[in-house]
Amino acid sequence: MDLLANLATGFAVAGTPINLIYAFVGCLLGTLIGVLPGIGPVATIAMLLPATYALPPESALIMLAGIYYGAQYGGSTTAILVNLPGESSSVVTTLDGYQMARQGRAGPALAAAGFGSFFAGCVGTLLLAGFAGPLSEMAFAFGPAEYCALMVVGLIGAVVLASGSLLKAIAMIILGLLLGLVGTDVNSGMTRFNMDIPELTDGIGFVAVAMGLFGYAEIINNLAKNATDREVFTAKVQGLMPTPEDFRQMMPAVLRGTALGSVLGVLPGGGAVLASFAAYTLEKKIKLKAGEVPLGQGNIRGVAAPESANNAGAQTSFIPLLTLGIPPNAVMALMVGAMTIHNIQPGPQVMTVNPELFWGLIVSMWIGNLMLIILNLPLISLWIKLLTVPYHYMFPAIVLFCAIGVYTTNNATFDIGLVAAFGLAGYIFTKLGCEPAPLLLGFILGPMMEEYLKRALKLARGDWSVFVTRPLSAALLAIGVLLLVMVLLPAIKSKRKEAFVED
């Protein structure tokens, strides 16, 4: 395992001019769409996924990774400029970022977010490259029971981070698992729950689910809101670069955020959101220097730390996906979908079977981060202009992109009906205060989980205790229980409420 040789393989793939262009286009599109208020990485990726169908797998994934980073950065941009987090991981960025923008210091805030993200991205990429090998070797020691336990932990993680009721989040996961089972059962060859609709024989298309639940439901909700809620902050952005004083303040915060984010990102279900919250909480605990503005009133540390943490977390959350094939969050679930569309089964074998793809993707993540900073610093003023485009020009375009995207997945009108059904479901879910993200994760994991559960119990001759007698599986389940207990503890419960208040 030679890290440098592997990285060289990666550079050979990701560094070709055509793939550089795809990375650039991905970043550009991702930022462009991510910067639209209320549209986070999940919706952006779901929307742009079909644009990558025609590409070779390497280029497609490289472009998607670019879209992901772009969307994430775009989300932070709106968080800072208009107090609208594009996604949950940039919620805390609004606290100090928007305050800075109001004081006319949007430039330094955006730059701090950019620099912080880039630094964290570099560290995250190195960690990913260094740990992916050993971890994927460990993955071969995983039996079906361990996989099952790991998925349970991942799903619990998703529950922990969902805002609102715990029970409802668990119910959404189960609903997702059930929906994932629709279609042909691989073991018996039987078609399940297809309601005699031939198009459902292959299961429900996940693009339709994701776009319906996230894209359409979001548009309907935005339109239902009063127009004033969408009002845009048009104050002048003065001075782009942070002062040397700003740098002195933000560097330690960036380092702390990166360290925290890298660790938390690996946890299934955790990833970027948990990382950014934890980083902000840490910054709040650190003593203010003389003359420093308190956090929450426009302190640059309050932008730099969570932004570095969420980017580091985003990076390291690829580790469980690429080494174990288990998506730790909704974005990664979409990446799994993208990989399967290109006939790649995510998991430990990706590294040995498709080393070019594996290392190419890792290197392209770093390139994506670089592109972001090149792209965004000069373009900040443009992003602000984009925000002044009236919403009534924006939403028909978004509806159109979703519709074209869904149609082209299978070239079938049926899928468009399906996305409408999920759009309706998504609207009902928001009305009822049920979060759709756990459902999507369950949806992706459903068939996988059934498969591993079946195998695990077959090997154990139907004895359920196998999950607690195998040490690795028991340890994983213990982590899951611990996570649940943590959420149920009153102290954390109130923190969690407080943290999600901006949603």
Binding site: A51, L167, D185, L400, D415, G423, L432
Partner: protein, 165 residues
């Protein structure tokens, strides 16, 4: 006893109903098997029953636990709901055609104009003819450029009775 959270009560009801549906269906139509030899009905049956249970709990708590704002569901935004989903369905029907009702394929351009028009109606103040035509033209041109010329997607562009296929 009164409902303390409308949202929770209705969502609990929804989960229970869906869970019962899945469980019922798996128990009746598919082989359940045993834990060591799971049939196609085993996993969905278990999940369905768990969902029924969870839905029950959620409903129970919605009757017992006090929520600050009463968990009111609030008005349903019928207009955006119908227009957005309708625009999408119309787009699909026009783009691919619906042989079952004898609707020919009208192609991308017509479908985009229809989608934009209906979608704009979602917002009471958004619709006017000029805006619709301008936006549709921009979107149609842009989509042609990106999806047809650049990405080479196989979509019918013009109505079938003009282009001839």
């Amino acid at each position: 006893m009164s409902i303390k959270s409308q949202k929770d009560f209705v969502s609990g009801l929804m989960f229970t109903a869906v869970g019962a549906g899945f469980a019922w269906n798996s128990a009746l139509s598919y082989d359940i098997g045993t834990a060591s030899q799971m049939g196609p009905g085993y996993f969905p049956l278990v999940l369905g029953l768990v969902l029924v249970l969870l839905g029950g709990f959620i409903m129970f708590f919605s009757l017992v636990v006090e929520t600050p704002d009463g968990g009111v569901i609030g008005d349903i935004a019928w207009r955006p709901l119908i227009c957005i989903l309708g625009a999408n369905l119309l787009f699909g029907a026009l783009l691919g055609g619906m042989p079952s009702i004898g609707l020919p394929s009208f192609g991308l351009v017509v479908a985009i104009f229809a989608l934009t028009g209906v979608a704009l109606m979602a917002d009471a103040t958004s619709f006017n003819l000029r805006r619709m035509l301008v936006l549709s033209s921009i979107l149609a041109g842009g989509s042609y450029l990106v999806f047809i010329s650049l990405l080479n997607l196989q979509l019918p562009v013009w109505p079938a009775f003009i282009s001839g296929f």
